[in-house]
Amino acid sequence: MQGNRREQMKRVYVNEQWCLGCHLCEYYCAYANSGQESMVKALKDRTINPRIKVEEKNGISFAVNCRHCNEPLCVKSCIAGALSQVDGLIVIDASKCVGCYSCIMACPYGALMPNEEGVMQKCELCTTNTHGKPACVQGCPNKAIVFEER
């Protein structure tokens, strides 16, 4: 498929040059999607399962989350029609997901992962939580993660 008609929208981009591997993005993500009032309440004594994950190896690090592809293989592979593309944004209807993991098989970035209940979760740019703006971007201390249109 040629990826024409690229949806013009702000996306989250990562610049590994400035990533410090501090993992704050993961925590801000987990918090933002926890629905909790306070970060402490949301994350204390919990193993977090964020929608953005930092890859780290000998000094190099960078965060990875959904690229919101223009030609989303995950959407085209979802057997339940749980994933869909709304104005460029790739969203998931968790109630439809049956946990078949076809999206894990399809996503070339490895950006989808199951939540604690085995239902798939993914970055929705904080549009579906109370946060509004991508929390990982706001939480990044070094502008290694930016939210912009390219």
Binding site: L20, C22, L24, Y27, M39, R46, P141, K143
Partner: protein, 501 residues
């Protein structure tokens, strides 16, 4: 190690209720204060390693951390204070000179805080900078003492080389080596955006930064590191560093550990070899020698660059300044004893030199007495902390001011004063790649631009309040200052009246 005489200065207080063990403190502390104890699933800390730089505090997402000065102490003694005693322990332990960094923390009078600024009431109007032009543009350099005309009687407008500043504030010398690549880049970018200048310091100019030459002052110091014709011609001006406020009469020493490939290339010295700047320039033992270097540099740059001579504020500074003014220098930079440093012997830093306020006042007065104030521009530094300090400095007679510590603070420095360790958690005073990375020049330069822009707004506000709408009308306008709680001598040196007079 037998007895440890030193009790940790700081205690890391972690609010267990708030800590979510995200381990960012652990990951971000180059001093390895924090660590994770899997057994108890808790963060633990080693206070002895903490330098109180606040990196962990600033990044902790739940504000679970604070660093507290220990209240453990010696029996009260007005004479033998705790830090005095600890210094003795340290030296008894190491047998070495005590090293320190940044400006002196000692409680010397800060004259900026003992001067008050005037404002217009009734008899003449204050000016609203939002409605009227408010000018801060400043030229640095020699001014012609007599105008000349061509055969048709037209003014000849050619002048000695000048530096044009949009705002009379510059970033003073900090070498690449004492601070990081990204810190330098932040300064360069900000200087460019602001239409001002930053200063290479004595570490030479990294090849990547030649592109910022229009906004660069290249320094020639006693070590002559990285000095070559392209370098001299790369900048907008050349600064001869005779002295530094934090360590008058002392040279510099950048430990070999900080001399990586890049720095060795930039400084033109072998990798991992200590970079030692001699105390004096060994080709300058007298004022006439200085004159020779000034003209050597002018020759080397075809008289296209103003020459700055930077000296530390010492007792007979006004005589020295008047000598420099007659040496062909275009600009004199004076660095007060509260000025910062990447590393200096603590005793020197804390006891040698004089405050910049007094040095500036007496130099300005002296140059006017000699009628040569217009032959040279005056730039002062050494702990300028706010726009109010800037206004006061200019009213005392400065053409422009140098800031360094304020700039570093803008970049994230928390004045922990352990630059010499090379483990700056803020990516400023370090050469470790993983730490340098922490200062994204895009962020850094933006913060610097914000700071200077904010100061400029405040300067304009206060100028407007004084009914002055152009910075040159403030320069040396000491009537706009009044002393508060100063004695006769201080007032007389500062050339100002006391509040109420």
């Amino acid at each position: 190690m037998g007895i440890n005489y030193l009790y940790p200065d700081f205690e890391v207080h972690r609010d267990r209720e708030k800590c979510i063990t995200c381990r960012v403190c652990e990951r971000q502390c180059a001093n390895e204060v924090h660590s994770y104890d899997a057994e108890s699933n808790r963060m633990v800390s080693d206070d002895t390693k903490c330098v109180n730089c606040h990196r962990c505090v600033s990044l902790c997402p739940t504000h679970a951390l604070k660093i507290v000065k220990t209240n453990h102490g010696f029996k009260d003694n007005a004479n033998w204070k705790g830090d005095v005693i600890q210094d003795i322990y340290r030296q008894a332990d190491s047998g070495g000179v005590l090293l320190a960094s940044m400006g002196t923390p000692k409680d010397y009078p800060v004259y900026w805080d003992k001067m008050l600024i005037n404002a217009s009431q009734v008899t003449n109007p204050s000016i609203d900078p939002l409605r009227e032009p408010m000018e801060t543009k400043t030229f640095l350099g020699q001014k012609s003492s007599k105008i000349r005309r061509d055969e048709n009687g037209k003014l000849i407008t050619k002048t000695d080389p000048q530096l044009a500043l949009n705002i009379p504030i510059m970033f003073s010398a900090m070498s690449y080596g004492s601070i990081s690549y990204n810190a330098h880049k932040s300064l360069a970018l900000a200087a460019q955006k602001l239409g001002i200048f930053y200063n290479t310091g004595e570490g030479g100019l990294h090849e990547d930064f030649y592109q910022y030459g229009k906004n660069t002052i290249v320094q020639v110091a006693s070590g002559r590191f990285g000095v070559h014709p392209e370098y001299l011609n790369a900048g907008a001006a050349i600064e001869i560093k005779m002295g530094q406020g934090a360590k008058p009469g002392i040279g510099g020493h950048l430990p070999g550990s900080k001399i990586g490939e890049d720095i060795s290339k930039t400084r033109m010295i072998p990798e991992h070899a200590d970079a030692i700047s001699p105390a004096p320039h060994h080709d300058i033992y007298s004022i006439e020698d200085l004159r020779q270097l000034v003209y050597t540099l002018k020759e080397a740059t075809a008289y296209t660059k103003p020459i700055i001579v930077k000296v530390a504020a010492v007792h007979n500074i006004s005589a020295i300044a008047s000598g420099i003014a007659r040496s062909g220098a275009d600009i004199i930079a004076i660095d007060g004893f509260r000025g910062g440093t990447g590393a200096a012997p603590a005793r020197t830093r804390d006891n040698v030199g004089i405050p910049i306020e007094l040095a500036l006042a007496s130099v300005d007065t002296r140059l006017r007495q000699e009628g040569i104030r217009n032959n040279v521009s005056l730039v002062v530094g050494g702990s300028i902390r706010s726009s109010a300090d800037v206004i006061k400095a200019i009213a005392l007679g400065a053409d422009a001011i140098y800031i360094a510590t304020s700039a570093l603070l803008a970049l994230g420095c928390h004045l922990c004063r352990t630059c010499q360790s090379g483990k700056c958690n803020w990516g400023i005073a370090t050469q470790r790649p993983e730490l340098v990375k922490r200062l994204n020049p895009e962020v850094g330069s933006e913060r610097l631009v914000n700071l200077i822009t904010a100061w400029n707004h405040e300067i304009k506000e206060m100028m407007g309040g004084m009914g002055i709408n152009s910075i040159e009308a403030l320069r040396g306008n000491r009537l706009m200052l009044r002393g508060i709680g100063l004695n006769e001598t201080e007032l007389q040196i500062l050339g100002i009246a006391h509040a109420g007079q």
